[in-house]
Symmetry: D2
Subunit: 363 residues, 4 copies
């Protein structure tokens, strides 16, 4: 199966809708972190703003539920908490030109056969067929390895199992991972597996419980905190294998976001969750494909900050693909309810997903 990017469908700005539209209005933020009344909030779609008559501008790095700030004609998409008093913020909530704003909700051609006519089985469940999704994913990942940026978002379940941890490590080493977004737990249990071959005290292959095994994750945290960082613990030879090790070897960036469930935490973990959001968004802005596995919290967080489109190196607009893989229909439905319309989902255990995907990619 070969892969080709769908072609962006530019709006036709010669249409009367656009010709007759006013310029977008911008009003000053009344104070730091506060938007003016009637602020415009962004969607996941490309949005155009008529900054001067006849000039429709598309901000470069978008995401949903943010505001649009005009700095001398340059538009940026900003979380409201990052506003500074006086920033000129776009106001207006009509989306079809009436306020000088156009939300382009069908930027790419809809694949044939995917129309939502009446049919049985219109909703995805565990009984949906996923064969084609795997095959399309393999060709997508092969394309993105060369031409894009694949960002993985993961819960700790991926490293609780020997084979899936190994598959993920191989994916990193073979170039299919451009960045990792996760929490303290994934890194901690991956490091526990390197130090003791266990996750939460249970051998990751044989599942035998170690004596005093419940100390392992606390000891792993202590070892790394003593070394000063994950990097230092790898450099001093404490951590010799696994996902974090492979990321280090390949120089691949990661963000570990803290949460109130954390023990430790590991030194690289962001304690401030909004600093973590900023670091995550820096990475997501370069993403062309997002793979979100077995984490409701991080999947929704990243879904919120992932636009439906980005730019190729050649400056062309292309879609951002978003896969979520989870056991739970609830997570999938929740993502759908949240508006991340471009998401595709596979309902399965991520252990099988990773092992199957690695094998499908021939690694």
């Amino acid at each position: 199966m070969s892969f080709s990017l769908p072609r962006y469908q530019e709006p036709d700005f010669s249409l009367p809708t656009f010709k007759n539209a006013p310029c977008a209005r911008f009003e000053p933020a009344p104070c730091d972190g506060v938007a003016p009344d009637d602020f415009h909030a962004t969607s996941i779609f490309p949005e155009y703003f008529q900054t001067n008559q006849g000039q429709w501008s598309l901000p470069v790095c978008s995401r949903m539920d943010c505001v649009v700030v005009n700095h001398d004609g340059a538009l940026s998409v900003v979380e409201p908490r990052r506003l500074r008093q006086g920033d000129m913020v776009c106001v207006g909530r009509h989306e079809n030109g009436e306020d000088g704003i156009y939300v382009h909700s069908e930027p790419f051609p809809v694949p044939p056969g995917s129309t939502a006519q009446f049919a049985f089985r219109t909703r995805m469940t565990r009984e949906s067929s996923f064969s084609i999704d795997y095959d399309e994913l393999y060709s997508l990942l092969r394309h993105e390895r060369k031409h894009g940026s694949i960002v993985w978002v993961m819960g700790p379940a991926v490293v609780f199992d020997h084979d899936s941890r190994e598959a993920l490590e191989h994916l990193v080493r073979e170039g299919f991972v451009d960045a990792l977004l996760a929490g303290n737990a994934l890194a901690t249990h991956d490091i526990e597996a390197s130090l003791y071959r266990t996750a939460l005290g249970q051998e990751i292959y044989t599942k035998q419980s170690s004596p005093h095994g419940h100390y392992h994750h606390l000891d792993a945290l202590n070892v790394v905190r003593k070394a000063g960082s994950i990097k230092a613990a790898i450099d001093n030879g404490s951590i010799t294998n696994g996902v974090m090790n492979a990321l280090h070897d390949k120089g691949i960036p990661f963000v570990l976001a803290g949460s109130i469930r954390d023990d430790g935490p590991l030194p690289e973990v962001y304690a401030d969750c909004y600093a973590a959001q900023d670091a995550m968004r820096n990475i997501v802005q370069k993403a062309t494909t997002v793979m979100a596995l077995a984490t409701q919290l991080h999947t929704i967080a990243v879904g919120n900050m992932t636009p439906s489109y980005t730019f190729t190196k050649e400056g062309q607009i292309r879609p951002v693909f978003f896969y979520s893989v989870d056991m739970s229909e609830f997570v999938i439905n929740k993502l759908a309810n949240r508006g991340s319309l471009s998401a595709r989902s596979i309902l399965t255990n991520v252990q099988d997903f990773l092992v199957t995907t690695a094998r499908g990619l021939g690694i």
Copy 2:
């Protein structure tokens, strides 16, 4: 990973518990389908009955929640509904010899490391590691192909997906399936896939909905009913591929049990669910391994009629392995609550399970 059968631990009948025990008592069934008061109900374990002083008999084909009937010294394990008035039924509910009955609840050695000491992660969830379960399963299935009988129990989800349906067909053709227990839906959707390449009107690979696709399963049923049987529809060339086709080619028995959800039904389906139980138990009595996939109803039904042990061709007692594969912790917990203690479980989507298992077996 090589496979060896655990060795049966015969009770030591020279112990005082047995020496001092009375003979088991048998009383006549008061009428058809009714047991005498205080009847003994069987468990999933081997159970011995002292039929004459010093002679402890083990019935050949056991299952739980049945009664034990004595026909001139030969013991059989019988569903109460199959009792005939006057059948001599074992009475007594003590399980350690007091009533001449011994329930042997630890017939095989417990594998090291599986003891239930305090530990994190004592319950299986989707986050349990399953790598070793797959590897052990491959070696088990290779052993059973030669030396045992592998009975598969399945819900329709296994044929909704192109790759898993193909994997299952390969498993049949390569000798890893000795019998199939399923419902009307599995066979219907498998046949729909052969006739129209759809399941409930959706292409099983591309997932495109066919025009009038909701007719496909009704048409599939009508085609087979017109032919007179699945067999006839295969013989006349209507059904050319798939699971039912492979079973037919290899002469492998199947039981399709009817349910109140059925359309059709297909001609081979048992309308009487207790006749279906009898047919299923005939097959289960020969099983050495049961693979139950993606069906709560059939998994529990078969779990109820599967003993924890059976006999090798050489007459030795060996365990019956019972795997259940499902997305739902509820099904797994329910099975545990029901008493099928010997069950092992893998929590995943059966599509991935079948594709992975076929690949792990090298087919």
Copy 3:
């Protein structure tokens, strides 16, 4: 909150679509239980058939996935398995008059606010708000007690808990139950509770396990089988309380459909699942509201045989309301995928649902 039935929107048969339509065609069934090629399959909606030019007939007792048989101008909706050779079966699959068939897919006005525009939260999850659903349900049930027929469909979970079993018994005695559709398990565990105050050996209020409690459901079955019927066991004073007792006291019909999971079964249980379907449909044809609780099997079975409309005693067309209550989004999605579009759902534990509903009705 008061309740009023939505008014049926009769098609306007004076429109050209109807004026220019041919008469519906009927062809003989080629043999028993087999429909002619190109048979028309019914939906859940009202469907009109032009039997003579200008005369559009609506069959009285419809259900989906059946065929329409013409007996001298009288149309009946028949399961294909019940066809007799030579029965005149409607053929044609166009639904907008082209084949003399009109499927009326919007028979009742859509409530304001329920349109499917873009919005967050378009899918129901456990986080949907259900306050209004309860309040509307109370007013509906009060209306139906006087003017309709409320059919309850239930899994055994409703009698595993003391308070919900009592709530259900009260609903029966207060006239909110016109029929019950269930399986062997519900009746068995309800009777076990009457005999021993346990369900599967666990006290239904204190949850304490009884010694030898696993015998209770087997003993309950044996007691009733010895008496000859549930009715006889109530009449002889063995069963003194609970759901089955209340149904008996009030003369309310029930259907217990057998399944391959059953122990026993109780004498009243249908062994033949298609005979059970027929008995269930006889009851469902009179239903004006269906309440389906905590059973995937029976909910889908009854959903398949429940039309979206029925007739009032005065001969007017009115909707049939279908509520499903379950813990699992999967069941709800599955029902949606199956085409039972008129279903409303509440995602909760049925224990709470029954207790809350009984209290909301003031009983």
Copy 4:
């Protein structure tokens, strides 16, 4: 149903196990945030440390997975990240006196009937009976209102529904809530409901979607951020009802912990998740009962920091009760796997739980 506290079972320190035990050892933390090798990690149980021969000390505010620091004979239970270089940390991992440490794993008498013998239904599922749990909860909450401290931990689902939000508000106003631990989302949607009667744009009673309703939660955040705080927005009359309003009126403390999913956030939200942990633990240390509803993240976070015991005002040791209420068996199993052994669970929709509980308490 009346309530009485179980009586603490003091260890008998005159036993040889204790008489012959060495004193506990304490070693200095090698640097800030790092424990010495072989550090002792606390459990949820009471733990005694022999600080001088014959003197067994019990730290006052315990929690699991922490270290024990000795400040001149006063023991405190400290998260490793809060250690300062040179702090004297208890080392030794034996739990039965060998290291001068005694973990008292059966501090309270086990209720009769709750022993873990063989039985059906040993695991809790959605089909477990919960009647008694409700009744015991009512009497517990009535007791705790007078004599204890009830800490509620909640996900946003509790305010998505009109009736459950109102029930929770009543519980606050009637004195059944001593503190609230939640995230940004709960407060945001509660405030959205006060401002616009919606949650994520959907009317919380009628479920109608508002035009531009997806702006509501962003507008709610902006309104509060403009006011400066939730308190200020209540004081200026913007927020007039709901849970946050009731907490403010009653002067009840709350902690809102930030997460990477947050929009906004509200001004009171802790951006630093470890500062949030500290604030939460300050509250949990006073808790006598914890009610955790519909949040996996916060439930596990609070479960980790909640000990199994605390002290009454009179200085007596009593249990801390921990209830978790969720739709998902996974959350419950996960809690069990994590070691929060004292947790009790109710599997249901929290909407029903709150409405039922408020009614059960007569409010």
